[in-house]
């Protein structure tokens, strides 16, 4: 089977849009097809990583709960944009998983390397 490098970028803030949940669904399906996958949180999307999120009683789905189990699906290429948390003064918050930071230059490289980008 042809392998395609798939880069999934989550740029939308939690709860503001259905796109981040869609991005995770695409990611899990691509993983089931054994495609090489990279996940990147950019801009407002980094806020999905905050572990203090408590959506109980809100009626909204909290996708951050699904992030720690990505490893089980052998998705280990998970990154966030460098400075995106620091810019928001959120650098001291606890995160749901430890991810490596990528500079804008490294993000440009990741985009270049990918065969397909889903930027949700």
């Amino acid at each position: 089977m042809t392998l395609k490098n798939i880069l999934i970028i989550i740029r939308q803030a939690p709860y503001s849009s259905l796109l981040p949940a869609a991005a995770l669904d695409v990611l899990l399906t691509a993983a089931a097809f054994e495609q090489p996958i990279t996940l990147l949180f950019m801009g407002e999307g980094v806020q999905h990583l905050l572990s203090a999120q408590n959506s109980t009683g809100s009626g909204m789905k909290n996708i951050s709960k699904a992030l720690p189990s990505l490893e089980l699906y052998e998705v280990d290429q998970v990154f966030m944009e460098k400075d995106a948390l620091a810019n928001r003064k959120l650098e001291n918050e606890k995160l749901v998983l430890q991810v490596e930071s990528l500079s804008l230059n490294q993000i440009a490289d990741a985009i270049e390397k990918a065969d397909q980008v889903f930027n949700f």
Binding site: P14, S16, L50, Q53, N54, G57
Partner: protein, 105 residues
Amino acid sequence: MTLHLINKSPAKSSALNECLSVLEASNNSSSAILLIEDAVYSALKHPANMALHEKIKKLASPCYLLKEDLLMRGLHAELVEGFTIVDYAGFVQLSLDFKKVQSWS
């Protein structure tokens, strides 16, 4: 005498900025702003929010944040000063304290 209700992140909508411009130009200071849903991100100390925070500081009208929407997003400590936090009961009471509620999107 208006409660201005704003629900979008400042990265996604100029609603808060436009609302503040109108309130600045107003002769009347008996209005308020309530930030709900993604608008609570306006209270983050993000450099992009600095101009908004300056405007809010100078404003005579109070600016509120909805507690439940802060909790959902895991936002606690790192908010700029000058906002008052209310829950849904407070949101309903604010709607009655002012003559009307105007929503911005």
